[in-house]
């Protein structure tokens, strides 16, 4: 059997004694596409940051592809939620995307031709290559999102973590993005936080709801249990009028 992409075991985390995550256990096989839902402040972003090694768990273990999170950093791509940080920073789209090619082993060296080719590929994939010379601050939110996704892809990741990739973009781009992610998922394990349950039902293979604790459903169904835990979920369900069934049948009488 192959190593799981993500293996969390009894993970606890708190900020200044305020518990954020309690006893989270999750095993995600490679090639999966996990959608994470849950209320604001429920610990979704914290969960991603634990997976990235930015935060350390108080208790429990986390393995990414069999390695400690921060050792696996070159195998993981990350798209943060907030893409409008440092908007006045004098930096071009190309330079932002090139950051994906940084690594500990090549500190102090110039970017290579290979780095630039990789970045060109990923900027073309996300359809933002034509803007490569623009200052990052001149782009729209959706365009910036594409740059940040390209940056994550330039890492050549085996796992891609996305924190609300559709938070500030138009619905059209949202559709594009998930088509794109589904295609990408043929090679790459994907974990995406999203508010939009409709998106989940159409695209993901498995789903987890995080609100201090975590409930995982391998089939990509949103269970009654999840909705009880995070009652924000059904609001989205109703509001979007999703074409597919996301509630499991046994819930209906």
């Amino acid at each position: 059997m192959t190593v799981p992409a993500i293996d969390m075991n009894g993970v606890w985390f708190s900020y200044d004694r305020t518990p954020i995550l309690e006893d989270v256990t999750l095993t995600l096989k490679q090639g999966d596409f996990l959608g994470i839902i849950g209320p604001n402040g429920g610990g979704k972003t914290t969960l991603l940051k634990l997976l990235l090694g930015v935060l350390k768990p108080d208790r429990g273990t986390i393995k990414i592809l069999g390695e400690a999170p921060h050792d696996a950093n070159h195998r993981v791509g990350y798209v943060p939620q907030n893409t409008d940080l440092n908007i006045t920073f004098p930096i071009s789209v190309m330079e932002v995307a090139l950051m994906g090619r940084l690594s500990r082993s090549r500190i102090g060296k110039r970017y290579s031709r290979n780095d630039r080719t990789k970045v060109e590929e990923s900027l073309k994939k996300t359809g933002i290559w034509n803007h490569r010379h623009s200052p990052i601050g001149r782009l729209s939110g959706g365009q910036r999102q594409r740059v940040f996704i390209a940056r994550a892809l330039a890492t050549d990741p085996e796992i891609l973590l996305l924190d609300e990739p559709t938070a500030s973009v138009d619905p059209e781009f949202e559709m594009d993005l998930f088509d794109f992610l589904r295609e990408l998922n043929k090679k790459v394990t994907i974990v995406a936080i999203t508010h939009d349950v409709g998106v989940i039902s159409r695209n993901v293979k498995s789903v987890a709801c995080v609100n201090k604790s975590l409930i995982y459903h391998e089939e990509g169904q949103i269970t009654a249990e999840m909705i009880d835990m995070a009652y924000q979920c059904p609001v989205d369900l109703i509001a979007h009028g999703i074409p597919h069934r996301v509630l499991p049948t046994h819930r209906e009488k």
Partner: protein
Amino acid sequence: MWEALQFDFMRNALLAGVLVSISCGIIGSLVVVNRIVFISGGIAHAAFGGIGLAFFLGFSPSLGAALFAVGVSIIMGAVSFKSKHRADTIIGVLWAIGMALGIILIDLTPGYHVDLMSYLFGSILTVPGSDIWIIIVLNIGILLTVLIFYKEFIAMSYDEEFAFIVGIPVKPLYFVLLGMTALAVVMTIQVVGLILIIALLTIPPYIAEKYTKSLGGMMTLSSILGIFFTLGGLWLSYSYDLTSGATIILVAGVGFFIFQAVGLLKGRGGITR
């Protein structure tokens, strides 16, 4: 002005002005984009404690300032990592303590009346030739460090979290930046004095940021602007017999308002941008 160039002290002053402007352009750009203006102000003022100590114990004031500046920058860096929420308070406290300590130590130095003004407001006309060599070495050191770690500095400054995730040692790099800031501050004390350093570190980069597309461009334009402000101020202070440090800063200040006004007229945004 030209006849003034016959004098050694004037040639030294020009050279020091140019060199310090280059360092301030490079380091100031990093200071501005990393939002550590307050820390660099703190380093500059706390360095005065080192100047006082140097007089008290009888060694070179520049060395004293350098030791204190580097020491304080390490403490401030550690504090800003450890207790983020109160970092600015602690920096303010060290800022004041450093200055007070310097003045008390000079009081306690027997039979010696130091010209405090030259440290507080600079004395570019009294830069000795030996100091020029030290400034050259420090300049080269700063330039090389920034060149070698250029892409890492960009990553840390633009998106610290991502830089950490891809494996850049963000913490050590941050301390390197603070250390370089401390050295730039020590050089600049000679030129504009420790009270006014903050202007030379921030005004040129602030203007340059709006007209450049890369951090390297920002550093280059900042350095050029800094040279214009410094030499312009020096010329005015020589012509009208004004305090050189303050004149340099006022020239920079006028530049700041002119570019601000131009920016507003062109719709490139004002202070809020």
